[in-house]
Symmetry: C2
Subunit: 308 residues, 2 copies
């Protein structure tokens, strides 16, 4: 099982990396700026967000080029947030993934513009992917990056006051969770090419909180599908929080100093492990809801984050 | 004439400002961050980009709420670029429009995140406006901000070498011109709600350079329309370059020191005035091509930038 899983993850990563490489290479930016963008995006980390998107897409149908482009947009958005997060005026980090951060290597001006460029490129990738696949509804973009996602979470992390573990989880849901939740839910929706709007009413937009509702006159199949979409959202929400808790815990166990507040400021190691595993189990339990595709990869991916 | 023109511009500005105000107020960001965003967006300048969009829209049909939203997205994108442009690692400007720049007032971290937030908000406004109006094609976003627009131009301005006036104009076309060109052309297209893709082939995407082509089997009306769309692009291109030249010239005449290269580094005042008026005349000449709406406002707006 694990051999098959490893091969599958390696294959996704190769596809994602080749597509990201091409996207940057073919962009109209000057060569010396493309070098900065390439430095920021390679070598990558786990490529978790695009992989979650592609795995959830696979539960309904095998992903094609448009889906791969959308997945890569998620990774570019993540990379944008890392560049700006590392800058002296935010976290002031010198190193990331074992090499100098973008501003240490190329200076702050180029780092600022590289972050801007990757955010812009992310939106362009995702918008064009939606258009190419006939998935024109951009409502879920609200949940990715801005007021309900990365930027709001980042602001709370740097300038907000976390008074309780509830505040912390709420911040994590925005900073790390929203894009992961979208990766899962949009991956599953993207595969269906259906008019999302007819099934998810505007309530998604209110406070950016998804609310799945059954609509009068739905067929049984449609009702089942709404349940499965809801599952993708719940999986993503739980996984997103768990992923950030896992990060806190591994840093703590490794004896590393954290940039800011972490879950270890509120509870002890045993409680933190329990909380992490609670969210991971929450995610895994969704996978038994009757999806057509093979949920084993998502199960194994989730189990990688268990800390015993 | 001028009284009517002034009233019209004032009315647009009031509509734009009210919509921008609401967009920021209703966003899910914390109140202290919304304050930063509001500071960055108000009081505004000429609101030139949204006004060009709305005027070009008006040549085909009166703009509704979706068009106003799209127009405001253009202004938010412009405001994003100003915040990051002013930061110490780029131009290091302390003042803008007679008050401290965002990072001077709120610190660099908040300025960085405010720029990111406005860029994200701009894309969300425009994508949702397109969706609401049934204008699903996001291909023109390529020309707005990133590889063929503001960010590329900004990179060339800061890190590129301008060796000639041709290099300078080419940089201006990206940094200032692309968003203005889009404001005009997309304003006119947005009003038509037609499937842009069927009329403008993929050639628009190649190097981000719009190329209007007649397609076999078009009716006479469609051919006329393609000509008028081409006019909107030509008007926007000329106006965009002229606007930046006007900026250079007025700074020079006022005895202000410029942040970087300007047209005055290559040619003298008389030649620069001639060049500016050449582009302005190029824009104005388009307005005689047979548009249905009243082109007088666009004519008078363009004439405001003539320097004699």
């Amino acid at each position: 099982m694990s051999v098959k899983f490893d091969a599958r993850m390696r294959e996704w990563r190769e596809q994602i990396d080749a597509n990201l490489k091409k996207t940057i290479e073919l962009s109209a930016y000057p060569a010396d700026f493309r070098e900065v963008l390439d430095y920021a995006v390679f070598p990558g980390g786990k490529r978790l967000r695009p992989i979650l998107f592609l795995e959830w897409h696979s539960l309904f149908a095998p992903p094609g080029q448009a889906a791969l482009d959308f997945a890569c947009g998620l990774e570019l958005m993540h990379c944008f947030s890392l560049i700006h997060d590392d800058m002296p005026c935010i976290d002031n980090d010198d190193m990331r993934r074992g090499k100098p951060t973008v501003h240490k290597k190329y200076g702050e001006g180029k780092a600022l513009l590289a972050g801007d460029a990757l955010l812009d490129m992310a939106y362009n990738c995702m918008m064009n992917a939606c258009f190419a696949a006939g998935n024109g509804n951009p409502f879920y973009f609200y949940r990715l990056c801005g007021e309900n996602g990365i930027i709001h979470g980042e602001y709370l992390d740097v300038y907000g006051k976390c008074r309780s573990i509830e505040d912390l989880i709420s911040m994590y849901k925005k900073k790390t969770g929203a894009i992961i939740e979208c990766a899962c839910a949009v991956g599953y929706l993207f595969a269906q090419k259906f008019d999302v709007k007819s099934i998810l009413p505007v309530t998604w937009l209110e406070n950016g909180k998804p609310l799945i509702e059954y609509i009068e006159g739905m067929t049984d199949d449609e009702r089942t599908n709404v349940k499965l979409i809801g599952g993708a959202l719940r999986f993503g929400e739980s996984f997103g929080i768990a992923f950030q808790l896992y990060d806190d815990l591994s840093e703590y166990v490794a004896g590393e100093k954290s940039d800011g507040t972490t879950v270890m400021d509120y509870i002890d190691l045993d409680e933190a492990k329990k909380l992490l595993n609670h969210y991971l189990n929450g995610a895994i339990s969704v996978l038994d809801s009757g999806y057509n595709g093979n949920t084993e990869y998502l199960r194994e991916l989730t189990e990688k984050f268990v800390i015993v």
